[in-house]
């Protein structure tokens, strides 16, 4: 929904009436924004751009413990690290590919379910009722908790012998006879997904709730007068009106979830089970635990390019649809 603005008529009139003064002030006005932006630009360069460029340079070096103190002595290996990364017949390449697949599935499920939960809760809490504020605050609690504290708590909950999850499943509900493992084996993916959704859905809820504030009541009233039920109103009024919010929300959730490091790191320690080996943790392990920063950097660059590609594709696609509409 693009909008254009034009200077008020009064300004235009004033501008034509005082050309000399306007021309004199223009350079000063153009300088100030740059000065105000300068700190942000400096920080952006220092925190994001320069480290990214350094990372790209590292990916071209054989940077191990022998050269980590003095990079200038690290042998330049060109694209050799990338060959290792893309060689799915090598152990490093095969493990990266497996980690990538796990991460894709994890991201799709986590983002999809978080969005669905958040949207459902926001829609149900759209109309005022007694206790709504309490529920809103309660739903936002996981988002407000420090990530380390929250995930460590989940680690305790998922312990096989002493965790609350198995206590409920085995001792209280008697759904299974043998307590299952949650932090190793196949279930580790489920455990990771549960924690991720628990952490993420409140953000979706918050964004959708904010978006719903901009949906005029008149639209719902008109739809109701036309005989539209709850599902029809949701499909024809709510979701189309939330589209701008959802476009940004899904992109942000995708990027956050795909890069999620904290959740698996705290849940499983430095080395996650193969079933829950997300790519950010995999790259960390490839870099820091095996002290092979060249290969780790190559993996990071590939991940960066992939995310850039997906983001660009997503934005192009969504913009085209918006223009076509």
């Amino acid at each position: 929904m693009a909008t254009t603005t034009s200077p008020p008529a009064a300004d235009r009139v004033a501008g034509t009436a005082r050309p000399a003064r306007s021309a004199a002030r223009r350079p000063r006005r153009s300088l100030l924004p740059y000065l105000l932006l300068a700190p942000a630009v400096v920080l952006e360069l220092a925190i994001h751009v320069i480290p990214m460029l350094v990372g790209a340079w590292m990916s071209l070096l054989e940077l191990t413990q022998f050269h980590i103190r003095d990079w200038s002595g690290a042998p330049f290996v060109g694209l050799d690290n990338y060959r290792v990364v893309f060689d799915v017949n090598s152990a490093a390449g095969a493990e990266l590919l497996r980690s990538f697949r796990v991460t894709v599935v994890y991201t799709v499920l986590s983002v999809g379910l978080s969005w669905m939960l958040g949207t459902t809760a926001a829609v149900l809490l759209q109309r005022p009722f007694r206790g709504r504020a309490v529920l809103r605050a309660l739903f936002l609690t996981p988002y407000a908790l420090p990530v380390y504290t929250a995930v460590i708590t989940w680690t305790f909950l998922f312990q096989r012998d002493t965790g609350l999850v198995n206590h409920v499943l085995v001792d209280q509900l008697r759904l299974v006879d043998e307590p299952p493992f949650w932090l190793i084996g196949d279930n580790s993916f489920v455990a990771l997904l549960i924690v991720s959704i628990w952490r993420t859905w409140p953000f979706a809820f918050l964004c959708v709730m904010a978006g719903l504030q901009n949906v005029p009541d008149e639209l719902y009233e008109a739809a109701a007068m036309d005989g539209a039920g709850f599902w029809r109103r949701l499909r024809s009024v709510t979701l189309p009106m939330l589209r701008p919010v959802n476009l940004v929300l899904l992109l942000v959730l995708f990027l956050w979830t795909f890069n999620d490091f904290n959740t698996p790191y705290v849940l499983f320690g430095g080395s996650a089970p193969a079933e829950a080996d997300l790519i950010s943790l995999h790259i960390y392990r490839s870099s820091f635990q095996t002290w092979d920063f060249g290969t780790g950097s190559a993996m990071s660059v590939v991940l960066l390019l992939f995310l850039l590609l997906v983001t660009a594709g997503y934005l192009l696609l969504t913009n085209r649809r918006r223009n076509d509409a």
Partner: protein
């Protein structure tokens, strides 16, 4: 001041502040009066360690006028932080390092080498226990550190559980471990506790079992030899304690935070393989007379080429970063920490053994536990390979064993082929 000037000033200040923030850091020794020391976690908690160390550091300040700012770093973070300090030249002046990391950290070139002249400044080469000093760097180079606390693995057993099961003596072979373990397993209790998800612990046991089965993890040229038949058999023997002998609780496959020590202290497990567990057990209210300490067992019949090794030469070394601005003060501090008085005080507290020979006979180290550890170190312990890739070996092989324990716990078969596959994959990741 006009609004424009105010805006320019604000922007300039913010930009300068951001640049300054980028340049701030943990400056090593400010040229004389302070040192930064990263201590490893040896006691029951980080806070307990700080309380133990602080009076000694105060003593050092009284003697030399040098203040030491100590930070106790958990083991899970220590190697990464050491690596970051080595990379950036920012960080502590003096650090504790696991002795098995010595050659790996030495390869970074960030640590002061203890050649004869430097060793003389901290008391001389002859002062240190030779086996401990040998585990402080690559064999063909001057040590990258000096030993601070000496440790070895031992078998801890619960006397009451053994008596209840009619077992009169601790096992001396793995076959006996399996046999008595089965007697001790039942009613929610298990024969043995292991730290199955802790890669370092796993790698230490892989080394010892490997030695007993005639395996080596690196050849003479320093190349990895992870998947030899001997190493496969050795790792399988260790995993079989859970997978075949069924004397280890499958839940141990999740353990990485010393839960196995807690299980032993709480009577949930009757045996434990650990390094100087006494202090930790005491902190968990297990009386010293409630457990016995014996050497780690061997195979009943030594496999071909098997060595009579039942522990790595374990321990903590103390090292100095080259980036220190107070090298003399740092070496003075190393000399202080390895002095007779401090060696007795600190090792007695932690239940470890002194790294210097002069106080080995001190009554502080006459308890049964320390006698077993000293005997092991003197006769049947061997150092882990002092090669630059050692820390990578610990990570990769330790993680492979973690995965094998997970397989065993989940009821998946652990065969020679599956062990070999994991070890081969680990080896392929070495570059």
């Amino acid at each position: 001041m006009s609004r424009r000037h105010l805006a320019i000033l604000t922007a300039t200040v913010l930009a300068a502040a951001s640049l300054t923030a980028c340049g701030s850091g943990d400056e090593p020794g400010d040229g004389g009066k302070t040192l930064t020391y990263w201590a490893s976690n040896q006691g029951a908690s980080l806070e307990a360690d700080k309380e133990i160390l602080q009076p000694e550091l105060d003593k050092f300040e009284q003697q030399t006028g040098i203040k030491v700012n100590v930070e106790v770093v958990p083991w899970s973070d220590l190697l990464n932080r050491l690596l970051a300090a080595a990379t950036t030249g920012q960080g502590p002046d003096v650090v504790n390092i696991g002795n098995t990391w010595s050659a790996s950290l030495q390869a970074t070139g960030a640590l002061v080498e203890f050649d004869d002249a430097t060793l003389d400044k901290v008391g001389g080469k002859d002062r240190f226990v030779p086996a401990a000093l040998a585990a402080a760097g690559a064999p063909d180079k001057p040590p990258a550190a000096v030993p601070l606390y000496s440790l070895a693995y031992a078998l801890y057993y619960n006397k009451q559980s053994f008596a209840d099961a009619g077992i009169t003596a601790p096992p001396t072979t793995w076959e006996q471990v399996a046999e008595v373990g089965r007697k001790l397993t039942g009613d929610g209790k298990w024969g043995l506790a292991v730290e199955g998800a802790n890669p370092s612990e796993n790698a230490h046991h892989a080394f010892t079992f490997g030695q007993q089965y005639g395996g080596d993890w690196f050849d003479a040229a320093g190349r990895p030899t992870f998947d030899t038949p001997q190493n496969v058999a050795a790792v399988k023997r260790y995993i079989d304690l859970m997978a075949v002998d069924k004397i280890v609780n499958p839940s141990n496959a999740e353990y990485a935070q010393n839960q196995s020590v807690s299980d032993f202290a709480n009577g949930k497990a009757a045996m434990l393989l650990w390094q100087a567990a006494g202090a930790n057990l005491k902190s968990q209210n297990m009386a010293a007379d409630a457990y016995g300490v014996a050497p780690v067992p061997f195979p009943a019949t030594a496999p071909a080429g098997g060595k009579r090794v039942n522990s790595m030469v374990a321990g903590i070394n103390i090292a100095v970063f080259k980036h220190t601005k107070n090298l003399d003060g740092a070496l003075e501090f190393v000399k202080f920490m390895t002095s007779d008085t401090e060696q007795v005080t600190l090792n007695k507290t932690y239940g470890s053994l002194p790294a210097v020979g002069t106080v080995a006979a001190d009554p502080a180290f006459a308890a049964d536990e320390q006698k077993v550890l000293a005997q092991t170190l003197a006769t049947t312990a061997a150092p882990l390979p002092q090669v630059p890739e050692e820390s990578t070996f610990e990570t990769l092989v330790g993680t492979a064993i973690k995965e094998l324990f997970a397989d065993a716990a989940s009821g998946r078969p652990v065969t020679e082929d599956s062990v070999r596959e994991k070890l081969t994959r680990a080896q392929q990741q070495m570059r």
